[in-house]
Symmetry: C2
Subunit: 186 residues, 2 copies
């Protein structure tokens, strides 16, 4: 009754292995999972740590420069919502996240939530039952920026994940998350 | 600079806690994550275990009975693709999954893949870049059916997750996964 199976392909597995070899480290089960899921990391943090909270570090609308335009497949000068948040548990920072949301691809209700509320971009997408395709564009280990050093009070390397939510074939949300390499190792 | 945050809501956390209390157990980090993600479990199994494979236990088209029609929000008698698979590593079963896919909601290409190939329903959705909303309908601990006892060679309780992928507001794939409670505890 049981027939021969097909290999289930997954490029993320290869990327994780490459990072482990290049840096001579072994990532934990939780870290591997956090790098592999194609949805907001807050879903998992909430389940693992209980109620987690969000701090808004900054939010504004800006015109896309050449780099951001390329990232989002937009024209330069188009308006983009820029959001920086920290997910934390009792004030202990867990994950930093930067998101870009092209304003022209959002309804007025979504834009209001982006500006006024402190929901994650992922929460907002879910609130309005938006159907999306999710894709991980990159995972990496990077040196911390001065801002990340300050936020996490460490100079260790950061594990990062860049992912996008796509609607009607266009990127609706681009997100990059970062946290110290020593986090989520238990 | 840091302002007060909003609580990130997550109903799954409550359901997991309820299961733990009712059965007097503590689920592992990996189990909690596998119950919480709104995507095919194979993505995570592949990352954790390396190449995992798929065995097709059964696949056929049938007419929806009252129960399945209700589950999928279909009319009774409409055609549904029924698939049962086991995800395994070197022949060791990891997860059993049953899926229902309403034929009228699929393109001919998808139906061909459902019938002929041994990709998971999740892999097929991704292959055609289908934009979806994903929702977990239930998580539970259940007594094993005779089939699951035979497949996993155990009579212990099963951890299960029911989730749906929704396109254009309609359920495109309904899936229920099950694995013994002692799995994924490391």
């Amino acid at each position: 009754m049981i027939s021969e199976g097909t290999i289930i392909e997954n490029q993320i597995r290869g990327k994780i292995k490459e990072l482990e070899e290049r840096y001579g480290i072994e990532l934990s089960t939780t870290q591997k999972i956090l790098l592999s899921i194609r949805e907001p990391i807050t879903i998992i943090l909430d389940v693992l740590y209980g109620e987690v909270n969000l701090f808004m570090l900054g939010q504004h609308v800006e015109e896309a420069n050449a780099d951001i335009a390329k990232l989002l497949d937009l024209n330069e000068g188009e308006k983009v919502d820029y959001r920086e948040v920290i997910v934390h548990k009792h004030g202990r920072p867990l994950v930093y996240a930067l998101s870009y949301v092209p304003i022209s691809r959002c309804s007025e209700k979504v834009i209001n939530d982006l500006c006024k509320e402190k929901l994650t971009t992922g929460n907002i997408i879910e609130k309005y039952n938006v159907e999306t395709l999710r894709r991980i564009n990159n995972i990496s280990i990077e040196e911390p920026t001065p801002q990340l050093q300050e936020l996490f009070k460490t100079d260790e390397n950061m594990l990062t994940r860049e992912y996008v939510m796509v609607q009607h074939g266009k990127i609706k949300i681009w997100t990059k998350e970062a946290y110290p390499l020593s986090y989520f190792r238990e």
